[in-house]
């Protein structure tokens, strides 16, 4: 067994644990991996170049940036904020739970493009959640604001990951089927996809529970800061 092959993983873990700059960690781990893999310098460069070129499709999303930048410059976030405030007592957790449900169901139906961090979370979801938190808690502490924004992104991820796996034509389902078929175990994509459902339900339950707790904590913060619910109906 080639124990040295574990060295690049150790570099990655150590680098991120010491909170080094990700690009430096990747650079270091790449050099170590090339050395451990016994690659000649030229061969390593070719491998690096080849794999980078194949991954270029990951950057297609930057084409959405001009659209987002121009509508934001003309006040989209303010619009999202006003819309939430005019809806009354929406709490950020409840809003995000609704988004989680939509994102997860859409992904399970194969509609993974309904969402995404650049297209949806930055221009709409996060500003709406932030505005909802502000409406409840006018002097929102910055740590809470950061948490609400981070939770918006987390909600998009959870909805996508634990929804798309139920869709039978999704890459992961076909990958698993092909893996077992090559080794003489025949599985139908449907059977694999159906076994994703229990985890999907569990993921929704756990994340929705955490969003509910976020709302409770916000309400507690608002009370301790002396702001009651906006309708003022104290028990």
């Amino acid at each position: 067994m080639n124990t040295w092959a574990l060295l690049p993983i150790a570099v990655v873990i150590l680098g991120f644990a010491l909170r080094q700059h990700p690009a430096r960690v990747i650079l270091m781990a790449a050099l170590v991996a090339a050395a451990v893999g016994g690659m000649q310098p030229l061969q390593a460069l070719e491998e690096i170049g080849d794999s980078f070129l194949k991954a270029r499709f990951l950057l297609v999303i930057v084409l959405a940036l001009p659209v987002i930048a121009v509508v934001e410059a003309h006040g989209l976030r303010e619009l999202a904020r006003q819309w939430i405030v005019s809806r009354g007592n929406w709490m950020p957790g409840r809003l995000l739970t609704l988004y989680l449900l939509i994102r997860q169901v859409a992904a399970a139906l194969g509609l993974t493009s309904l969402g995404g961090h650049a297209q949806m979370v930055r221009p709409l979801v996060a500003p709406m959640a932030e505005a909802a938190a502000e409406a409840r808690c006018p002097d929102l502490p910055d740590s809470t604001r950061q948490r609400v924004k981070a939770t918006s992104a987390a909600t998009d991820n959870v909805g996508l990951f634990f929804g798309e796996d139920i869709f039978i034509a999704f890459g992961a389902v076909l990958l698993m089927q092909a893996f077992f078929a090559e080794r003489g175990v025949e599985l139908t994509p449907l059977s694999i996809a159906l076994w994703g459902i229990p985890t999907a339900i569990l993921a929704f339950a756990i994340h929705a529970f955490r969003l509910w707790r976020l709302d409770r904590q916000l309400a507690a913060e608002a009370r301790s800061a002396g702001h009651g619910p906006r309708d003022g109906a104290a028990p």
Binding site: E47, F52, R56, L59, P66, A73, S113
Partner: protein, 310 residues
């Protein structure tokens, strides 16, 4: 259809960003930022015709620029317009992107050329997104009455404010391929096989589920981890020795890997890019917000594996 025209479009946008950074005389390290986006633009515009070793060299230059020379936060130039325009119609371009992407990713595979369909499912999804972005930009310019070039410059400023995080997914894909060449994942699966008593069913279940999560965290990608763990532990031990049902084993095992994706900075496009997009102070803020979901879910998955595989 090859993706090359798509790469040219992205390359042009990166070139605009590079030029924009270079002409930002007051900003910090303008030359390094210009060089970073310039190198990326070359990789997108001419990557296919350059010698592979030169491409690899440029990738390393990009990594060095991003890691050592480009400031982490670039204060974005003031992009506030003189008069906001558009009102609630500002929503249209934003909702237009997903709607059109969806339509095109289903429609494009049916477009027939001289030699059969022009687009595969993957290229249709990517061209669908790109076309949706371009058409939405036209719509956004009409709604806000901005010129396309000034909208593109605003986009370039936004790209710079996201900064190096945006290219991390590409660098990580490069690292993943080097890991594969060096046999990193196999070594890990072997080490687990030798060190753990996998002839006990519950140890094998734990090793399989936790191994999927851990290897996904190390590689940043559950798809890369699955063949290794399923081939090293799942099939030889759980299915062949302990008689587990392969369908739930595969599905829930992959979802254990997804729990790992929620926990690792290696999955940059899900965890680090959004932190930059939302201007979070903590680069790992999104991961921190996901720990409370990922860990209980991983535990739940391990229980589900035990329940459903036998």
């Amino acid at each position: 259809m090859s993706l090359t025209p798509l790469y040219w479009l992205i390359g042009l946008f990166l070139a605009v960003t590079s030029w924009r950074a270079a002409s930002d005389g007051q900003g910090p390290r303008a030359w390094a930022r210009a060089a970073l986006y310039g190198c990326l633009a070359i990789l997108f515009l001419a990557g296919d015709v350059l010698p592979r070793a030169l491409v690899g060299g440029l990738v390393l230059v990009v990594a060095v620029l991003a890691g050592f020379l480009v400031p982490a936060q670039v204060a974005v130039r003031s992009t506030a317009p003189a008069r906001p325009r558009g009102g609630s119609r500002l929503l249209w371009p934003i909702l237009f992107i997903p709607a059109l992407t969806l339509l095109l990713s289903f429609g494009l595979p049916h477009v027939q050329g001289a030699a059969g369909p022009i687009f595969t499912a993957q290229s249709a999804a990517l061209y669908g997104l790109a076309l949706a972005c371009v058409l939405s930009l036209v719509l956004a310019c009409r709604v806000t009455r901005e010129a396309p070039i000034s909208a593109t410059l605003r986009g370039a400023d936004l790209l710079e404010s996201i900064g190096w995080a945006v290219m991390l997914p590409l660098l990580l894909a490069m690292l993943g391929s080097l890991f594969a060449k060096a046999g990193v994942a196999q070594a890990l699966a072997q080490a687990m096989g030798t060190l753990l008593p996998l002839d006990r069913a519950y140890v094998a279940v734990l090793a399989y589920g936790l191994g999927m999560a851990a290897l996904t965290m190390a590689m940043g990608n559950a798809f890369a981890a699955f063949p290794v763990i399923a081939g090293g532990i799942g099939l030889p031990y759980l299915v062949q020795v302990h008689g587990a049902d392969p369908a739930p084993l595969a599905a829930i095992g992959m979802l254990c890997g997804y729990c790992g994706t929620l926990l690792t900075p290696m999955a940059a496009n899900f965890n680090l890019v959004p932190a930059a997009l939302l201007e979070l102070k903590d680069r790992n803020g999104v991961i921190a917000a996901q720990v409370g979901t990922a860990l209980p879910l991983l535990a739940g998955n391990l229980i589900l594996l035990g329940l459903f595989c036998w």
